[in-house]
Symmetry: C2
């Protein structure tokens, strides 16, 4: 561990940051699987030759990033994408009533296409590269609420075409089938008018104001993985955002 600090005199990096990088690498490489109990602080400290306090600082940082979950008396676990906390981490549309419910999905289309300009730019796909384009409608209490298009690089998600079904929780699918964990996402929101096609799927008049959510999701290494364009009816739900 410490050799790195000594040889890297050009750019000083704290020990705990190096430890964190080492441990995140284990998640990326799949050495530590979602749900798994990882070694105790003391064992990790012995293994890496640093103090327990330094290990703790790295683990605390990863916990703050939702990569790990610590349970006093039990141990430290790798976060699972199906946990409700993670489930809602990337899903900010909530009913006005406040009760958080998760939508169901119905797939409209699943196509393999050549990546368009936006997809090439956002997903860093080379010219001529292919994408999987997934169109689906999401319903809350049977009522269509969201129509969305999901784009994935076929290079990154080899074999997506051959899947029999696409589950509701695709982030869990990414994790289980391709070992890709979504670490963070950025969303850009606008208000738009419903197109003819959107209106048909959502059962609303053409031109109805919709909330457009343009999401790019990134893996643990910070590479863009998924592009998602959602159009949402917001008559009985809203997008919730906390500023602090």
């Amino acid at each position: 561990m410490s050799e790195t600090a000594e040889t890297a005199a050009f750019a000083y990096r704290p020990l705990y940051a190096q430890v964190r990088e080492n441990l995140v690498r284990r998640l990326i490489d799949g050495a530590w699987q979602p749900g798994q109990l990882i070694p105790s602080e003391i064992d990790l400290a012995k293994e890496l030759g640093v103090s327990q306090g330094t290990i703790r600082k790295a683990l605390d940082a990863m916990t703050a990033e939702n990569l790990l979950i610590r349970r006093q008396g039990r141990g430290t676990f790798v976060s699972e994408p199906e946990e409700s906390r993670i489930l809602f981490q990337f899903y900010r549309l909530v009913p006005d009533s406040g009760a958080r419910s998760f939508p169901n999905s119905r797939i409209l289309k699943r196509l393999r296409e050549t990546a368009n300009e936006v997809e090439r730019r956002e997903l860093k796909i080379a010219a001529g590269g292919d994408v999987i384009r997934l169109e689906r409608v999401r319903t809350i209490d049977e009522k269509p609420m969201i129509v969305e298009t999901i784009s994935l690089s076929l290079k990154r998600f080899a074999g997506f075409e051959d899947l029999e079904t696409v589950p509701n929780n695709v982030y869990r699918l990414y994790s289980e089938r391709w070992g890709i964990t979504i670490g963070r996402a950025g969303e850009r929101l606008k208000a738009i008018a419903a197109s003819k096609a959107d209106a048909r799927e959502l059962g609303c008049p053409q031109g109805t104001p919709l909330l457009e959510i343009n999401r790019v999701a990134y893996d643990l290494e910070g590479h863009p993985v998924e592009l998602r364009l959602s159009r949402c009816l917001t008559d009985v739900v809203h997008y919730s955002s906390d500023l602090r």
Copy 2:
């Protein structure tokens, strides 16, 4: 400090949490003013009779909440509401180009009214209580982009009626004039159609899709302070949200 821990056997609270509470109180009471250099870790440790590490943990927590700014070699300072970091903390509308610019404001109305039902509920105002209602248009590069209504409890903001002018940055005004610091805010977003009045102010056709932002802002004690309803044209700007 420690007496609290001993007498409060019913509900254990870590020392650093008690220290944090003690220090936040100094901000609320105005003993520590925005921009001020606060005592060093060592001095605080001596004063409160705890170790430097415990002080550090409290200060780090407050730094994470944007209440303090720590500068290695210089000291720890109280955050100022006019700093650009804080300025953009509560302002998530950015030009599609990415260059972050701050809008100007033009006041349309400033009224004293009896609080309506929504204001009473969100701002915890008793029946019959009064509010200041502020209507303004915000422009980016001279172009009207946002029309918004700000509601404040008159009880909390005594003398607001008598102000000669209302500045663009009202959070700084709250801080300087009434010693109220906004600590966090919650926003609920919807897509709506422009009303006749909104359309006139924004120079767009009636029915144009607008992004509606419903914000409740809270002070350091967690009490609601400001209610704000914004309607935004999102043709050249978008609302930016980071999920992690």
